[in-house]
Amino acid sequence: MNQIARPHAASIAAEIRALSRNFMKGCRCFFTAAALLTLAAGSRGAGAAGPEEWPYSRPLDSPPPEVKSADRVVNPIDAFVLQKLEANGLTLAPEADRRALVRRLYFDLIGLPPTPEQVEAFVNNPAQNAYGELVDSLLADPRHGERWAKFWLDLARYADTAGYEGDPDLPHAWRYRDYVINSFNRDKPYNEFIREQLAGDEFEEIMGAGELPSATPEQAVALTFLRLAPFTEPRGDESRHEMLGEMTSTVSSVFLGLTVGCAKCHDHKYDRIPTKDFYRMQAFFNTVQIAPPERGDIFQIGGPLPADFYREGEKEWAENKRKELHGIQGQLDALRADFGNRAGGALPDEKQLPDAKQRADKLDEWIGDPANEAISGAEREQFLELKERLPFVKQHLKRLQPMAMTLRHSLGPPYEPGVPVTRVMLRGEYDKPGEPVEAGFLSCITGSQEPARIRLDPFKRWPTRSRRMALAQWIASPENPLTARVMVNRLWAQHFGRGIVPTLSDFGKLSGGPSHPELLDWLAHRFVEHNWSLKAMHRLMVNSGTYRQSSMSGSDRAALVDPDNTLLSRSNRRRVEAEAVRDAVLAVSGRLNPEVFGLPIFPPLPEDIAQRVKYDQSKWATDRGPDGRKRSIYIYQQRTLTMPFMQSFDGLVCEDSVPERRLSVTPLQALEMYNGDLVNVEVKHFAARVIKDAGDDPERRLERAFAIAFGRAPTAAEITELRVDAASDEKLTGLCRILFNASEFVYVD
């Protein structure tokens, strides 16, 4: 605080409260009286700093430091970590044993437990580089993308419905989910990944006359990123204001780790982001054009645009799926024709009832009538089941159209309006225009509020084009001090349990800064150097000695000087995320359907939830077959209904960008794992698998069950405790249920 004399704090606080009420009305942020007081006293900590201050300064490429325990340095990450540890009188914990490591790597890199055979192969691999080989093989596994996509989809606030009243379906959103999985598996460079999601329609530079180039299907699908915010019945200018504002805030927090959204209504209170910068950034989005609602969409959520299927085999897959679904319609028609012939005089003919629709209804009514003896019970049941499935099938057919929930830039004059003037909106309100602004980059990074240079085509025929590409290129540039840092920090947090900067989507002043600044910068440099390869970063991190440490509690000194384990003197034990809990149950029972990509799946919901939490007949088409046992990444993300199983383990259907999951412990998890349908169906299959593999001997059964569930042999104490439960086939189901409920099933050391 500076030297300004101030009146009694409480009276200032009261005054500021009154002021804030008037000035900040309608704003979604608030600040504590204390923080406002700082402002009133004129001491905006960050106010005086320029782009040379962290995090706006370019990352330094410092060489890894010299450390005492040089023998513990597997790669330079360890040198940076050890330096801090040694300064605090600590060191790295011993390396975890191979059984712990293999389980950690599998859950971390592909989100599934290793099979007993995979565990033994690694544990007994004499090769010098057994660990590195395992890392490489898991990174090459297609299931890697399935695991890591969820982390990105949470950030992208991905869902398959729009939320709010009616919670209407977004039939083509799933293609974006597949795009993310595919991009991660192919190790798409992160800078390209950014450009596609922000400006997929503006890739091709126009050098002359001729047709306006269009986005490739993949680029069109990538742009879904900008369309994933919840959407409710539009209200004209206000909705557009909200939509563009949401894009601005989300893009800033996801890619730049800056809470630019706070500056929508007022200058950012902690970071150097004036309101004007919010609208300067929003101006990059001001030629965004979304398709009008489709006919019949009473919620008016805006429509999709064409985008062909593009991945290898995708077209054939879609075609086959379409045929399969059309088959159901055909089957129904055939049944109707057959039953109709049996009706004879029981139904009105064309003369008696000229309306075809009404005649069809009468026929269905007659078929459905249990008193109708012309049709057997089984036939009737088959008919009604197919009929009930039909609306779901129709919705699936819609999902299979070659469309995407994408957007484009407006065409500009003479076809569509030109570039609109963007203005600062006073207090963030849509109808309080202030001064006009030009599109420009954040001044906290560039040091100026100069307009951005937007590269138009030579004839300026498309003045509305290239605005988002200008922003995307600035974000995805090696010169941008935040982009690489923010992304490597996100990956780090996933691997190590907490970020080097703990607030993953906020690198501003409130973050408190990085615990290991040189390490973060070093990683950011390597990221760019490796052509923005995510897999290169995963490889670097999980190969480090820091990652391979044991998670067992370290020294007393560690508990004293670093109780949060910020310095990483051991590995952080973690509960696996909701998706991995469900996937592990299915993997252990041997019933996980490994099919990759495709339409959203609808696993069975408990009791009558499916009927009760839905809005229309086309929602939650329960898949009782193998489709319902695909991996959790494919589960339909309905904003008004998170699957209770997922919800109990902190899984969520996103409304806004979620940088990290909570990992809480609740009794509802116990009820879910012990009493719930999923576990109690799968225990039977788990038990059958154990019997098939291990025969009748109780101890062999125990060994096999432990190997499948935990990747290890039971201890003597465990054998004593559980031998009796493995003795009979009947009891064995109970044993399997016990193992599913063990802490070890959901915690990874």
Partner: protein, 491 residues
């Protein structure tokens, strides 16, 4: 944690802040902060939850009588001028255009269309000591009028169903935020360790607008989510043990799980999250007995069933919800939300047409049960410690777009929501806020939904500005920029 001292030395970073919070915790004697459940976040509440036991009961920050809250949510928009606001002038204007009231925004838009005023078709009369005018639709509630404090002319941020439902139930018109009950749990924990502390009973006919998001924990930990109490079958999802198992067999398996987990923990000393998990299993086991007992109302005397209207088809639905709410209060459940009405349509309070028929139907569902609930709480001495809140999504307009002849309805009105509260420290018979002669919008200082939430928190002994949570780089709270506590209705 915001002492005067902290006002002089505002924290510069989150880390500074947490450092200070750590010291504060030490001073409170709540050591042993552990596990993932803290990460600094929970320290932002004035009396932070106990790590590993987020639902343990904690003391109110300032003394209030209410320990429980029952939140009655009427889906749709209850027509205030047909229920609790007597507007004789409106009846005089029936069938005429609205006089020029100088409104702007959406209301003004609606008034540029052909419209006619709709007077209330219901008779009003004064009731109780307070002499409050009530419509003839609420004869039973009218007898309780001296226990109720009314708030008029409440402003909501959006007049569409989805956003306004979010606004009233979570403090923000945008999705993704914790509901009021989650905040209260986060602030106070719960007294009953055998039941979830936050229970929701929806209309037996179905789910509300926005579905389960209405009782979601948002960015707060999952422990604070509302639990849906189901009206058929087992009352809580996954509550009944697997078929074919007896209670003894289940207990035996639970003991084995416990033993296995203790062995696992023994090899990992100090792992608090693993300890918490062992306790969570024991709580789950106890819930299996406690919850079915709560929903079994067969032992209630006939007189009580009648009091709640269980003997009548019209009132039985909401009557059972109200009776269960009382039983939950008796067992220490902190927050109960009862929802009347499903989505939008004939079963909700959304009367764009036929407001007369609609209000007759809807008021008949709830009038007797709500009055019965108040009566029953009072006779058991529980009203003192239970805050009862009547809420809806929004108010309605005094006019209809179109003609007032025939069977007119009313449009949405985000400027004139009317609510009431009772119990706890609520001053019965009091009134706050006022609407104009037509009930078009408030006159005087407007009351906003965030003021309502600040008042609810205050009546529960919490301070809305100190109930904070750090999420995605921002300190968040129920009332966002802070609300005014409506002191007129507090005794």
């Amino acid at each position: 944690m915001w002492t005067d001292n902290s006002l002089h030395h505002p924290f510069q970073t989150r880390r500074d802040f947490l450092h200070r919070a750590w010291n504060g915790i030490g001073a409170l004697g709540l050591g042993g902060l552990l596990a993932d459940d803290l990460r600094g976040n929970d320290l932002l509440a004035e009396v932070p939850p106990v790590p590993g036991d987020p639902l343990r009961e904690r003391l109110q920050v300032h003394g209030r009588k209410a320990k429980h809250c029952i939140f009655l949510f009427m889906q749709g928009g209850v027509s205030q001028m047909d229920s609790f606001e007597y507007k004789p002038r409106l009846r005089e204007l029936h069938g005429q255009r609205m006089p020029d009231t100088g409104v702007s925004g959406e209301l003004q838009g609606r008034l540029t269309f052909p419209h006619e005023c709709v007077g209330s078709p219901f008779e009003f009369a004064p009731h109780g000591q307070s002499g409050r005018w009530m419509s003839s639709l609420f004869p039973h509630l009218a007898k309780k009028v001296d226990d109720l404090a009314f708030i008029h002319g409440i402003k909501t941020d959006n007049q569409n169903h989805g956003p306004s439902t979010y606004h009233v139930t979570t403090g923000s018109q945008f999705p993704g935020n914790p509901s009021v009950g989650s905040w209260i749990q986060y602030g106070l924990g719960t007294a009953n360790q055998n039941m979830p502390g936050y229970v929701v009973i929806q209309d037996p006919r179905g789910a509300p607008v926005n579905g389960a998001a209405v009782w979601a924990n948002g960015y707060l930990p999952a422990a604070y989510q509302g639990t849906l109490l189901r009206d058929k079958g087992v009352p809580i999802l996954n509550l009944s043990r697997p078929h074919s198992l007896t209670e003894a067999e289940q207990r035996r398996e639970f003991d084995k799980i416990k033993r296995l987990n203790e062995l696992h923990l023994a090899a990992r000393p100090g792992a608090s999250e693993l300890e918490a998990r062992i306790s969570a299993y024991e709580l789950a086991f106890r819930m299996q007995t406690a919850a079915p007992e709560i929903v079994d109302v067969s032992g209630e005397p006939e007189s009580i069933k009648k009091l709640y209207g269980l003997d009548n088809d019209k009132t039985a639905g909401f009557g059972r919800q109200c009776l269960l709410a009382r039983r939950l209060v008796e067992r220490g459940v902190r927050y109960t939300m009862l929802i009347n009405g499903v989505q939008i349509g004939g079963d909700s309070w959304d009367h764009h047409g036929k407001v007369k028929d609609g209000m007759i139907k809807k008021s008949a569902e709830v009038d007797l049960p709500v009055a019965g609930l108040l009566e029953d709480l009072k006779q058991r001495g529980l009203l003192e410690e239970t805050l009862v809140v009547w809420a809806s999504e929004m108010g309605r307009t005094p006019f209809v777009n179109g003609s007032a002849s025939g069977t007119p309805g009313r449009e949405h009105n985000s400027y004139a929501l009317c609510m009431w509260m009772a119990g706890g420290n609520v001053k019965g018979g009091a009134t706050a806020g006022k609407t104009d002669d037509y009930s078009l919008r408030s006159v005087g200082e407007p009351i906003h939904v965030r003021d309502i939430h600040a008042t609810i928190l205050d009546l529960m002994g919490l301070n809305d500005e100190k109930l904070n949570y750090l999420h995605a780089g921002r300190i968040r709270r129920l009332t966002d920029i802070g609300g005014h506590v409506i002191s007129e209705i507090i005794a």
